[in-house]
Point group: C2
Chain length 401, copies 2
């Protein structure tokens, strides 16, 4: 059996980021930069006032000084002329500091009577002035390629005068559910059948990971139909199948894809839930085959599908990031399979996470997975732990799940 | 001056969740349930096999027993007749357990020769059988109203046969930037002007918080124009203004909105960055006025805008959730204003966050905010801390920012 990290590394080794596309700044949040953002201007473009107040010469800034106010310069309306000794100009936050001045005295530290301002505070050169380029200068690389763009980044790209950004194209991820027993929600359920749930959960997960899901029509348990369905996904960047990756005679996904030249890697992963995993290429299309059990499918999607999609999106992809949490119950020693216990999280009095695994962990219990906050990770052969031990957890909401 | 929690409570007290709308299951991830999801079926709908193997009577399940295989029942193809003593039926994971059987012996623990299966393992009633309703039963409330729907929830709603869900309508949040000095990215920049950045960052933030942003045209520093622009937002659920909420003579937002009957609350908040905040109602439209400085605006958006949008979305809204982190540097005692230091986070060797605030914290430094991972929260009058102290941090990515 393969370990989880080995399987993940093999998957990632076969995937390449998508190419770039130009998107409007307003559409770029949550996308991954394919080219760095280099500033097109200097910010602030001039020395500007950090406060509402009066610009003057620091040499004049003594308590009790009375200066003549020769004008006002709201932000966006710079004062035209130079300012001489004994003179002051009314400024506002963001106003350009007029030529001849080098100091701002804030409004609250003055008294103003018609065109005479009396200072109640001293100053020094540069006081309350934001120097030209304090934030950034033209030519500075502000954001690196491969960065997932935040709302703040969008503000920064705007401020540096970029109406367009070059980002990785959103990968298209096709989802193929198989099984004679599968019905769509709201449609007639065949005898012994169940409703398709994996494909809908996977579609939402794929979108949350930054890709575009395509739900292929459910394929019956027929190798010809399965092969044809997979072939229809050839324009996708990744095909995820669910179901049909077990050892039964009716697990036809491998066979159906094999008929089309699928270069198959069928793995048993040393993990619980979700031992069987399939990975390979159908022509140039990478195919990730998840187990059919809902919990196994979705946990496998977090461990293998998320890094795969992140790699396609242009991100540095690897193991999902765990966090430490205090386990509220004792844990038995683990066997040789990495375990992923469905668990709830709560903040303890000291602010740290406290994690409590559910009792039964049957891989068919989707409701329990939905109500879980996290997976509690138990490494292969992890020793028993007493209640209160720190253990690694994976917050499902952080994983797009 | 108002404290941050007081101001937040006053804002939340004036906001109501939007009404419900029906959306397709495939569009419901990330939305907030306005009505509970009650299961329309029982899952599994019958006793089903948890493994690939043979269904038989537990009474026959002794090592060495040879049973006649009278049929096979793939998932979705239940076995029609009853199964008698000495008989077995080949099943697969998810297959309906046939009448007359109460035990599954897994395939690996058998040898099968034509229609005779020899058992290498004992069994007991219920072995490897998932009982009808193990996951959930018809009529169970699976997901409560006010829940933010995850990918797993979508799977659960699908499994319980819901093609449609009732969620809160996405609130529309209009954004009004004001200022003669503001240009849009790529357009001509006026003398002393800067590029609009707050409104673009806020739009991305609003979307990340689950609402629909509308960027109103930038209003010049003219009270008539500002009033008219705000009036145009009357169909929105919330109007966020940026700039114009300071004490200067050219801060005309209050005046412009006042002309239209704005019931204004202008607050100074005991916080840094971002002291000035405006809140009130223009008719029935709630208006949140953020400061003009980029960092002040975006930090205020996290502290006040996010809970406001969450309330509109139907979520239980309150203070953003902090996490504990070990501070890598000593911190000076704080004054009477709550401080929000821009900081980077890294995982320490023990898995806990380590937080390092930037040196200069000028509220005009947008680049530094973009490169920050978190805000380090310093309570009013917090004492000095030595390096290594645990402090609360707010991860910006968790706040839609």
């Amino acid at each position: 059996m393969l370990s989880v990290p080995e399987a993940r590394a093999r998957i990632l080794a076969l995937l390449q980021p998508t190419g770039g596309e130009i998107v409007a700044l307003t559409e770029a949040a949550g996308r991954v930069l394919a080219a760095p953002v280099v500033s097109r201007l200097t910010q602030p473009p001039h020395d500007v006032s950090a406060m509402d107040g009066f610009a003057l010469r620091a040499a004049d800034a003594v308590v009790g000084a009375r200066l003549r106010v020769i004008g006002a310069a709201p932000a966006g309306h710079p004062f035209a002329g130079p300012v001489g000794p004994g003179e002051a100009v009314r400024l506002f936050t963001g106003s350009v500091v007029p030529d001849g001045t080098d100091c701002i005295i804030v409004q609250e530290d003055t008294a103003c009577d018609n065109d005479i301002v009396t200072l109640h505070e001293t100053g020094h050169p540069g006081k309350h002035i934001r120097g030209k380029g304090l934030d950034f200068a033209a030519g500075d690389t502000l954001l690196d390629a491969r960065r997932l763009l935040t709302a703040r980044d969008i503000g920064l790209a705007a401020a540096s005068n970029h109406p367009w950004l070059t980002v990785h194209r959103k990968p298209v991820v096709a989802v193929l559910a198989t099984g004679d027993e599968i019905a769509m929600p709201g449609e007639a359920i065949p005898a012994g059948g169940i409703i398709s749930s994996n494909s809908h959960a996977l579609a939402a997960f794929i979108r949350a990971c930054g890709a575009i899901p395509t739900l292929l029509p459910v394929a019956p348990d027929d190798r010809i139909a399965i092969g044809a369905a997979a072939e229809a996904a050839s324009q996708a960047d990744l095909l995820i199948t669910t179901g049909g990756a077990s050892v039964g005679a009716h697990d036809l996904v491998q066979a159906g894809l094999g008929d089309r030249g699928f270069d198959v890697d069928f793995w048993k992963i040393a993990m619980r839930p979700g031992k069987p995993l399939m990975f390979g290429r159908l022509g140039t299309l990478p195919v990730l085959g998840l187990p059919g059990n809902p919990v196994s499918a979705l946990v496998s999607a977090v461990l293998f599908g998320k890094p795969a999609i992140e790699r396609l999106c242009g991100l540095a992809a690897g193991a999902p990031q765990t966090e430490p949490a205090r386990c509220t119950v004792a844990l038995a020693a683990n066997d040789h399979r990495a375990d992923h216990l469905r668990a709830t999280l709560a903040r303890g009095a000291d602010g740290f996470w406290e994690v409590t695994p559910f009792g039964p962990q049957d891989s068919s219990m989707l409701r329990r997975l939905a109500l879980a906050d996290a997976l509690l990770l138990r490494a292969p052969d992890a020793p028993a732990e007493k209640a209160g031990a720190m253990v690694p957890v994976l917050r499902l909401a952080d994983c797009g799940m």
